[in-house]
């Protein structure tokens, strides 16, 4: 019985805002270092060292920002929805705080994906906006993020805001595969030639390696940003608790 309790202790500890705050306080500098290293080296590699694409020349280098941002934008939505689900099912406030933090990060990443995609489109196909299936789905994903952000801020009660946006995030999650599939189908109806933003199957290994570094870098960056937003939310929501007051008075007495 005691060993069973010990096994789940990490789960319940995760639910303690104070524990999360203290642990992230220690780990953030390292995570930030790791993210910076990965992103800097990945960008250097991708922008300057990788060979230029045969068809697109040097403009393809935008891929090193576009693809990781797009991946994290989509994964980030699922993280947000998962955090919302955990919060709803197990009533863990910590989970709701993570969910609230995931929303602006995901929206920003979706914006990066859309912006870099548009800028990439101009030299590749001559126009800034193409109603390509992937770009259109990404735009709808941005709308879903904006909806969660708007709903979160519409309630005066924090508890209601958390639970309502968790439900909305879950509804969006169910819709994402439907949206992606239907936009894909719509695109094949209206565009005879399939314009692919990334021909992933035929990407050369020399171009793929820096992309993997960038994707890893974006993942670590996401964790850093998520921790930063969540820590701010913890202080805001736990402002009246003893440990926060002790933390502040310790800091001001130093």
């Amino acid at each position: 019985m005691v060993t069973e309790v010990k096994k789940w202790q990490w789960f319940y500890r995760l639910g303690s805002p104070r524990w999360f705050y203290e642990i992230t306080g220690r780990w953030l500098p390292w995570l930030l270092c790791a993210a910076s290293l990965l992103l800097a080296s990945g960008l250097f590699w991708g922008l300057l060292v990788a060979p230029p694409d045969a068809r697109q020349g040097n403009s393809f280098r935008i891929i090193y920002l576009h693809v990781p941002a797009a991946i994290l934008a989509l994964v980030g939505y699922y993280i947000m929805a998962l955090a919302g689900a955990v919060g709803l099912i197990w009533r863990i406030k910590m989970s709701f705080m993570v969910m609230k933090s995931a929303a602006p990060i995901g929206a920003a990443l979706t914006f990066i994906a859309l912006f870099t995609g548009a800028v990439w489109g101009k030299p590749s196909w001559g126009t800034y906006w193409v109603w390509d299936a992937r770009i259109t789905s990404m735009l709808i994903l941005l709308f879903l993020y904006l909806g969660v952000l708007a709903l979160q801020r519409a309630f005066s009660s924090a508890e209601m805001a958390y639970r309502a946006s968790a439900i909305l995030a879950l509804v969006g999650t169910i819709n994402i595969p439907i949206i992606y599939k239907s936009v894909d189908w719509w695109h094949t109806l209206h565009q005879p030639a399939t314009l692919k933003l990334t021909s992933a199957s035929s990407i050369h290994i020399d171009m793929l390696q820096p992309l993997i570094v960038m994707i890893c870098g974006f993942y670590v960056f996401y964790v850093v940003a998520l921790c930063l937003f969540t820590r701010a939310e913890i202080i805001r929501r736990e402002a009246t608790s003893a440990w926060v007051r002790a933390l502040v008075s310790n800091e001001s007495s130093r």
Binding site: L39, I62, A239
Partner: protein, 67 residues
């Protein structure tokens, strides 16, 4: 590890696509930086608000738990 470009000017030009590549890079890096700065400022602001409330209460009544 050999860099594909011979000079800094070539890096900026990117074979004619320099404007697109560097605008994309700049905007992306700016947004990523904002994703770090905004929560950091929000965190500092929240801490300051707690500090202000503490000072107000400490300077005011001497009773405990009057929150």
């Amino acid at each position: 590890m050999n860099i594909q470009f011979a000079s800094f000017n070539e890096i900026l030009a990117m074979g004619g696509h320099g404007l697109y590549v560097w605008v994309a890079v700049t905007v992306s890096v700016a947004v990523l930086a904002a994703l770090l700065v905004v929560p950091w400022q929000s965190h500092t602001r929240a801490l300051n608000q707690v500090r202000l409330r503490l000072e107000r209460h400490a300077g005011g009544s001497a009773e405990e738990g009057v929150d």
